[in-house]
Amino acid sequence: MEILSAGAFINLENQEKIEQLKFTARELANAAIETEGFLNEEDAARKLALEFWQGLEYMCRESERGAIQNIFTGEFLQRLRELRPCATVSEITPTDETPGFVQETESQTITAEDEFLGVLAPENQETDLIENTVEIQEIPISTEDFAETEQIEEIEFVENESDSTQSEYVSQIAATNSSSVEVERNETAFAGGLNLPEKEPYQFNKCTVTATIQLLPVDENSDLRRAVFSVKTHDFAPDYSLVQLSDSKLTASLAPELEKVLAKYQADLPFKVMDKMKKEKAAPKRNTPKVSTETKSVSQESAKPKEVDSTQNTPTATAQTNSTPAPQTAETGAQGSLFAL
């Protein structure tokens, strides 16, 4: 196996190149171990792996860069783990007699097989991503208390039994999901509450009420400021009220006045609605007699001599007005003849 030279092109399809890359990573790990002053710790190893990767400047497709980098760093770290004096969690499987993996606090326990905790099985360690959001820190085993731990920064566990940790974690996820869902529901409910119906009821609490506040200029040598409150809903006329407020405590004095105005409008709204209903009921009654009044007015106007003159000039008007009175003389003659007959 040859060491892959710097700047070489690597693609995932070329298995030979991948193997060379792995070999290179392992060789570099071996060389790092042999150097004096090198601390074989996880954090330092990760940094060194990244430095090696950047220094080697391998060429690869943008879509494959992450995967290839992970292969390199994973192999590098794996080799360093193997060379550590203490075994790692991935190499140990807990038995039933063992109390499980004890972390710094005794109440926090996890198992090595728990996939939810981010602990990977040995065969999955190649795919251990550096950019993974769950950071795994391996702690060397001490023979006294068999304390092999993997510490997860983002997750806290409360259960002592290893079997229940997974379910607890799942329940935590469910809880967080449900809480996020609740938040979303609240947001949607709030957003849904903003939908206005096409026809709002004539009830103060169930219709849109528009209230405006106009602060008029302060009079000279006066601490009082006049304000005009106007409240309106539907197509009703607005209710105006003029109030005086102390300019020094303007915002404080606005609230009670606004409350008064709104309360008054709320009390008056049913009367406004009743008036409107009465007007609407009365409206068709007015329309019917209007026709008769119009006809009367037309006949009255036509009876006037001036109007008759003007209507005679215009053919359309004469057609309307002359239908009854104008040919009266001729008709009366005919009628007279009929009656005479």
């Binding site: 405006t212 106009q214 005009v228 106007s230 309106k232 006329a237 607005p238 105006y240 003029l242």
Partner: protein
């Protein structure tokens, strides 16, 4: 326009005894403090939030039985206005 102002000025010379004036606009009638209804600028400022047409409208005033009655009629605009 001038005629309207003159007419309003003449009619408002009569003594106003009522504290509230009647405003007639867009087919609606409502009460408003006389102080706010006496001046055109003040009236337009006050009515503007609810009646945008008041900006370019003919305002006429008359006093009936000591009460100020303000009639506001929307002025005809050019097409597209």
């Amino acid at each position: 326009m001038e005629q309207n102002n003159q007419a309003a000025a003449v009619q408002t010379d009569a003594a106003i005894t009522e504290a509230k004036a009647t405003i007639k606009i867009e087919g609606q009638e409502f009460e408003l403090e006389t102080v706010l209804a006496q001046d055109d600028k003040m009236l337009k400022t006050v009515l503007q939030p609810h009646f945008s047409s008041v900006e370019n409208a003919n305002i006429t005033r008359e006093v009936k039985n000591g009460k100020l009655i303000v009639s506001i009629v929307k002025r005809a605009q050019h097409k597209g206005a």
